[in-house]
């Protein structure tokens, strides 16, 4: 139990540390990759909490997601390398206050709430994977399908928003180049 608490705490600290780096560094690529490693540490926390499938999934998904984040950061920032060290924050005091309040309230709740009996034994990993599969394609199938459709819709919508507006002028231009 103490071993588990130790590992959860270590990965938790890593997640928090990288999370702080995200908003402390002025280099955008560093910021995106710090977020990636923060998410990876969260994935490792899942592993430490014996939730193997979700942990591995988190680690896998975030690698691609945050790398894509990195390229957008480079595209849309004035100073992606952080060489100029410019300040890109606003309403700082209010934000710090809001952050501290959010974290504080959650921590207070975590300590004060009565969580009831805590289970010591987790089902083993192979069992979990199997049971999650059964859940996905059984009781929660509708939710799972909905999530899939949602992500498809979001992809299509995002692409539609992102591609340039086709006016007659630039569509003629495009045919020209092809």
């Amino acid at each position: 139990m103490y071993a588990q608490a130790f590992f959860v705490a270590v990965f938790g600290l890593a997640a928090i540390g990288f999370g702080v780096v995200v908003f402390r560094t002025s280099s955008m690529v560093r910021s995106a990759l710090a977020l990636l490693f923060s998410q990876t540490a969260v994935g490792c926390m899942f592993l430490a909490m014996q939730t193997e499938f979700l942990g591995v999934l988190q680690i896998m998904m975030m690698a691609t997601e945050m790398s894509i984040m990195a390229i957008f950061m480079v595209m849309f920032m004035m100073d992606p390398g952080g060489m100029g060290g410019m300040d890109m924050t606003h309403q700082k005091r209010f934000s710090i206050g809001a952050g501290v309040v959010a974290a504080g309230v959650a921590i207070v709740v975590a300590f004060w709430a009565d969580w009831g009996p805590v289970t010591a034994e987790a089902p083993d990993a192979a069992m979990q994977t199997r049971a999650l599969g059964m859940e996905l394609l059984g009781r929660s199938m509708l939710i799972f399908e909905t999530a899939g459709i949602t992500i498809l819709t979001a992809m299509i919508a995002a692409t539609a928003v992102a591609i340039p507006v086709q006016t007659t002028a630039n569509s003629a231009d495009k045919e020209d180049t092809e």
Binding site: V29, F53, L57, I59, T64, S67, A125, A126, T129
Partner: protein, 298 residues
């Protein structure tokens, strides 16, 4: 114990692969030349480019090496000879290999050079092309084994290897694995003729040695994955199981190596187009066919 054996096997395979690579390019079979030139890297001057992102520049080669070794950790050489027999092994190897992209972006951004940076971002485009073709064939393999455990996947191929059971999946996975290992003809991020080395361009000395070692290890890891998922892993007559695993892995690695010699580098636009228009529908078809087979054939 397993850890040591697997690492030694990995290093040995890397060395053999390097020797064979030298053999195909120079036409001479020299067993020690690879070791010597590897050692020579250690003695060479390590040049650091002007104003690099030092953290990325230093970590990228090491991260690539770690990722390749982690991927190999879930691949069995023999029924019990595996570093970590995870319950989610087939997913874990995807997770580990996803960080190849992270390492290359770091290696591309770190040195603060144009060739390297274009190479790094190019690999992001390449990932968008190949990623689905890694995951979806593995899904079909797991469907047949009814498990994500790599040893169970090998056991499920007893009698009929997956290369026969789902040849389409094998072809897609093999091509995607070459793209993931950025071997020719998919060497867009390094592309000697276009980017003068790309992500390799700014690395010298010890760092280049680590980077080269990592690239070869990555090829071995992917060849080993191909063996485990499609070529029946350790199955084979007469020889001990581990020997079969090694032989198959090396054969796959060498065929990846040779394929690149006889092909020109693919255009990035073509890679993207073919992977999405042809590759993904084929991978879906593969999943459907395997699903039908699993349900129909007892």
């Amino acid at each position: 114990m397993n850890l040591a054996v697997v690492l030694v096997a990995l290093l040995g395979s890397v060395w053999l692969l390097a020797v064979i690579e030298g053999w195909t390019t120079t036409g001479r079979l020299r067993l020690t030349a690879t070791l010597l030139s590897g050692l020579a890297y250690l003695g060479r001057e390590s040049i650091v480019p002007r104003t690099p992102d030092r953290i990325f520049f230093e970590t990228a080669p090491v991260l690539l090496l770690i990722v390749a070794v982690l991927g190999a950790a879930v691949l069995p050489l023999a029924p019990t000879l595996v570093i970590a027999d995870l319950a989610t092994g087939a997913l874990f190897i995807n997770a580990a290999l996803a960080y190849v992209l992270v390492a290359l972006i770091m290696a591309g951004w770190g040195p603060n050079g144009a060739y390297a940076m274009i190479g790094g971002w190019r690999f992001l485009g390449q990932l968008i092309a190949y990623a689905m073709l890694i995951v979806m064939p593995i899904t079909a393999v797991a469907m047949r084994a009814e498990s994500l455990v790599t040893t169970v996947i090998v056991v499920s191929q007893d009698g009929l290897w997956n290369i026969v059971y789902q040849p389409l999946g094998f072809v897609l996975f093999f091509i995607a694995a070459m793209a993931l290992a950025f071997r020719a003809p998919f060497d867009l991020p390094t592309a000697p003729g276009e980017l003068g080395g790309g992500v390799d361009a700014e690395y010298t000395g010890v760092r280049l040695a680590v980077l080269r070692l990592a690239r070869l290890t990555l090829v071995i890891t992917l060849a080993s994955a191909t063996t485990v998922f499609y070529l029946g892993g350790w199955h084979g007559p007469l020889l001990p199981p581990w020997a079969w695993s090694l032989i198959k892995t090396l054969a796959v690695a060498v065929s990846m190596l040779l394929a690149g010699r006889y092909l020109p580098r693919i255009r990035e636009a073509d890679l993207m187009r073919w992977c999405w228009i042809l590759g993904i529908p084929l991978a879906l078809l593969n999943i459907i066919v395997v699903g039908l087979l699993v349900l129909v054939v007892p």
